[in-house]
């Protein structure tokens, strides 16, 4: 477990974990995302920022596979995944959270995490046997539960959790399959100050074999966790750099006076 230091502990000679080239998506005649190139290296902590309407969510969904692009390519872990379905990308090692927690409401917290762990493994369809694998999966599910602070609530129906606890479970679901690349969709949205601190610490505490991408429009959390920031504006890449560089950038200031705390 390594905390983020000043310089990113990233091997610059390695191949990028995520690469998009010319990624474009039209809705009607309007390009919500327009020709975005991006490289994220293994172990990196990247934030993708921009105000509402900048195209962050659309860009996120293009990488995740929820939306097919109009033009351009997406490469994950060295493979061209542009035409690959969501579940296949997940099995390659891509994890993600949702802006509003999508937990499995009718199942217990532990069962939720169990399914998340199982998702990356074999045996989805198993009806009989596999006792030791199932026990191992349960153990791992409980570990993840502890990691996100839900160890006392494992037996509770996920739909009955408080809002903050559901966010915790949401992160647990994303972490459980031990993804290589984890994308967070506005993880700080709707969190209290204290919850944001917990979240930030959790993200900072994650091991380097998980690469992180945060889509955010709240700058505080993003700039604390990120080592590199990509700024989107009207679907295009505006500027890229370290948090300090972004903070100092005149164009960013001109375009987003006081946007550090977003709308509302």
């Amino acid at each position: 477990m390594s905390a983020a230091s000043g310089a990113p502990a990233v091997d610059a000679a390695a191949a990028p974990l995520l690469r998009t080239r010319g990624l474009t998506r039209y809705f009607g005649a309007v390009p919500a995302v327009n020709g975005v190139d991006l490289d994220v290296m293994p172990g990196e902590r990247r934030a993708i920022l921009g105000p509402n309407g900048a195209g962050k969510s659309t860009y996120f969904n293009l990488i995740a596979g929820d939306l097919p692009p109009s033009e351009g390519t997406v490469e994950l872990f060295g493979r061209d995944v542009t035409a690959l379905a969501v579940r296949r990308r997940a099995r390659l090692g891509l994890g993600r959270t949702y802006q509003t927690s999508r937990v499995l409401a009718g199942l217990s917290v532990e069962d939720n995490l169990y399914l998340a762990v199982l998702g990356a493994a074999r045996g989805h369809l198993r009806l009989v046997g596999g006792r030791s694998e199932r026990a191992a999966t349960r153990r791992r599910a409980r570990e993840v539960g502890e990691m996100v602070g839900l160890s006392g609530r494992l037996g509770v129906l996920a739909g009955s959790l408080a809002h903050g606890e559901q966010r915790q479970l949401e992160i647990g679901l994303a972490l459980a399959p031990a993804p290589r690349l984890l994308m967070f969709d506005e993880p700080a949205a709707g969190l209290s100050r204290a919850e944001r601190v917990t979240l930030t610490n959790l993200l900072l505490g994650l091991d380097r074999d998980v690469t992180l991408i945060l889509i955010e429009h709240d700058m505080d959390v993003a700039l604390t966790v990120a080592e590199r920031v990509t700024m989107l504006h009207q679907g295009e890449k505006l500027v890229e750099g370290t948090p300090a560089e972004i903070r100092a950038n005149q164009t960013v200031h001109d375009l987003y006076l006081g946007s550090g705390h977003g709308e509302q």
Partner: protein, 363 residues
């Protein structure tokens, strides 16, 4: 159902219930055993193929009577026209029905909610029309004189054995459903019910899971079709016509659409009504429609849902605080919440399987 009973107590209760039910032929008349008890078990088994899919899979299917019919007609045809051994014919009938169920499941696996309801209704009606137009299966008349295996004998004059067989199969199906619910497949099935998008993002093949879940439902419907046809000694298109599709749905709703036990409770209520109300009214169909309407308006989760809410009220008045909804591994799962649409007012967003998304979930 109430979560106030510990698992061991619940099992003991279940065993006691089964033993009591097994004594029915000894206590009641031959007529009752045949016309009410056995018939209720047949309806219950057919209905549980519906409630299983709804409760564990979030799939409300109106195609179950169609699958029942396929099993029954194939069984009847093999037994009567080909002189096949009844047990062998039964096995073949179930296998063929399961294959068709797999095909149906694949067709509907890309759809959800109300859209799926419509498609399965269309499938159920098409199946009815097929059997009423095909001479191979007796056309309008159906097939009579279907003999059950030797050890069952004549279900009309000596219904006790048929009844015990039905009871045994029902118990096995019930236990199997509970066990399957805790397997990887069963948990994944419930995950797909609660959040197909989430499950996809976790790496699951949602369409495949739905297809296989539907196929399991077809197994249960096929068993009901075989046993029901033996019990009636005949089958005709009338057994699976549109009004019967609605009857099965009504039974499920009376008992509780998302409760496994509800299938048999609803079946018993319906069979009692069906048997004993004919003298009171010639317009039984109208009354069934009215009953369905009343339940949908007042207590959409049926009698079991009503019972559960009354129990919770009682507990609350005793303890003075709200009962805590703890997940119990042996409890029937479900989208929860009163009403037919899952969890109104729940925190966090959950994908509701009963809300129509015309696009279904694209893979």
């Amino acid at each position: 159902m109430s979560g106030a009973l510990r698992p061991r107590a619940r099992v003991a209760l279940g065993v006691a219930l089964v033993v009591a039910l097994a004594l029915v032929p000894a206590i009641f008349s031959t007529y009752f055993t045949s016309a009410v008890a056995a018939q209720a078990l047949v309806y219950g088994l057919a209905a549980v193929s519906l409630t299983f899919l709804a409760a564990y899979g979030g799939i409300v299917s109106l195609a179950q009577t169609g699958l029942y019919g396929i099993a029954g007609f194939v069984l009847a045809r093999f037994t009567v026209s080909n002189g096949m051994d009844p047990l062998l014919a039964a096995v073949l009938a179930v296998v063929i029905t399961v294959v068709v169920g797999l095909a149906f499941g694949a067709v509907v696996s890309g759809s959800e909610g109300i859209y799926l309801l419509m498609i399965t209704l269309a499938l159920g009606v098409i199946t009815f029309y097929y059997f009423s137009q095909t001479p191979t299966f007796g056309g309008h008349e159906g097939i009579n004189g279907v003999t059950a295996p030797g050890f069952i004998g004549d279900p009309v004059t000596h219904p006790a054995v048929m009844y015990e067989v039905l009871l045994g199969v029902s118990v096995i199906v019930y236990v199997a459903i509970r066990l399957v619910g805790r397997t990887n497949f069963g948990l994944a099935m419930q995950g797909v019910r609660d959040g197909p998008t989430r499950m996809r993002a976790l790496g699951y093949n949602v369409r495949l899971h739905r297809t296989l879940a539907f196929t399991l439902g077809a197994v249960i419907a096929a068993l009901a079709g075989v046993l029901g046809t033996w019990n009636d000694t005949r089958i005709s298109p009338g057994t699976i016509q549109v009004s019967q599709i609605i009857v099965l749905m009504t039974i499920a709703v009376i008992g509780g659409l998302y409760r496994i036990e509800g299938a048999w409770i609803g079946a018993l209520v319906y069979t009692l009504l069906d048997t004993y109300s004919r003298g009171l009214t010639a317009r039984f169909e109208t009354w069934i429609g009215i009953i369905l309407l009343v339940i949908l308006i007042l207590s959409p989760d049926g009698l079991t849902g009503l019972a559960q809410r009354l129990a919770a009220l009682w507990r609350r008045s005793r303890n003075g605080d709200a009962a805590r909804p703890v997940a119990d591994a042996s409890l029937p799962p479900g989208p929860g919440g009163p009403g037919l649409e899952p969890g109104p007012g729940r925190t966090g967003s959950t994908e509701s399987p009963t809300v129509l998304e015309p696009g279904g979930a694209a893979q």
